[in-house]
């Protein structure tokens, strides 16, 4: 049984850009996202990403993914642990998200 957990997505300045309720399966976290705190420019980026995926315009995929990687988004989980995220996919029109956690880059509350 997959356990759903709340995660807060933050940017490099530690500003909250979204909150999500996700479950993990085979290393992939996926679920619903509330991106209302997200800056408009970021929303546009993910709308463009969604369009590329939904129209199967995969020749443009690398370019879009590189732009998303430069955001260096991190996830703060409800147990207080924090991790770098990779392969962050947000689909604004359906309010869905998926991402991977970068292994070995997880910090726990109270850790130095």
């Amino acid at each position: 049984m997959m356990i759903s957990q709340r995660v807060t997505l933050i940017d490099q300045e530690r500003q909250v850009v979204a909150t999500a309720q996700v479950a993990e399966a085979d290393g992939v976290f996926a679920g619903r996202i509330d991106f209302s705190p997200m800056p408009v420019l970021l929303q546009r980026l993910f709308k463009e990403y969604e369009e590329i995926v939904n129209t199967h315009t995969f020749s443009l995929l690398d370019e879009m993914e590189e732009q998303i990687e430069t955001l260096h988004l991190r996830g703060v989980f409800e147990d207080g642990s924090e991790a770098a995220l990779t392969d962050v996919q947000i689909y604004p029109s359906i309010k869905k998200v998926s991402f991977h956690v970068v292994k070995g880059i997880v910090s726990r509350p109270g850790s130095t």
């Binding site: 992939v28 996926a30 679920g31 969604e50 590329i52 995926v53 939904n54 129209t55 199967h56 315009t57 995969f58 020749s59 443009l60 995929l61 690398d62 993914e65 392969d87 996919q89 689909y91 029109s93 359906i94 869905k96 998200v97 998926s98």
Partner: protein
């Protein structure tokens, strides 16, 4: 529930099935020929004895689905995306795994159109490898005349060399 096209006795690419893969020459790779013993219900269907090829387009084989999107028209060379995979079911599965939250894509990938490189060339188009980080088996279908080559007349010819399978849930 898979759509039987036109018979439902045989299916493509289903796990837990008896499968035969026939190699083809001239860069065709493997053309899949699958006879189903115990088919899974989430795979597409195909008539026994036919081949659908190993180059796959998400969605149907309609001219509309083969038309250049505005941003694809700006590529050098202009072209549309294809996936190289042993079967249409494999291509659909790859979409679900690579884009786990993309419901719209998953829905589109229930139908896959498949063909071979030789058939694409016989229709006057060509294929070039265009791997991406996430999709190393990604190819681009192009036309020697660029954007103008993707006209309705040529796309109708191209559409005819694709075989649709559906039910790839």
């Amino acid at each position: 529930m898979p759509v039987a096209r036109p018979l439902n006795a045989y299916s493509l690419g289903a796990k837990g099935t008896e499968e035969k893969a026939r190699g083809a020459s001239k860069g065709e790779g493997v053309q899949c020929f699958h006879r189903i013993v115990k088919g899974r219900s989430d795979e597409g269907t195909q008539v026994v004895g036919t081949t659908v090829g190993n180059m796959h387009r998400i969605g149907g084989s309609s001219v509309e689905n083969l038309r250049l999107k505005p941003r694809e028209a700006t590529l050098n060379p202009p072209g549309i995306s294809l996936l190289h995979a042993p079967s249409p079911g494999d291509a659909a599965r790859q979409m679900r795994e690579a884009f786990p939250a993309a419901d719209g894509l998953h829905e589109a990938a229930r139908t896959i159109s498949s063909t071979t490189v030789d058939k694409i060339r016989s229709a006057g188009f060509d294929v070039i490898p265009n791997p991406t980080r996430k999709l190393p088996n990604h190819y681009r279908l192009i036309h020697p005349d660029g954007v103008v080559g993707f006209n309705d007349e040529n796309l109708t010819r191209l559409s005819a060399v694709f075989t649709e399978t559906s039910g790839h849930a």
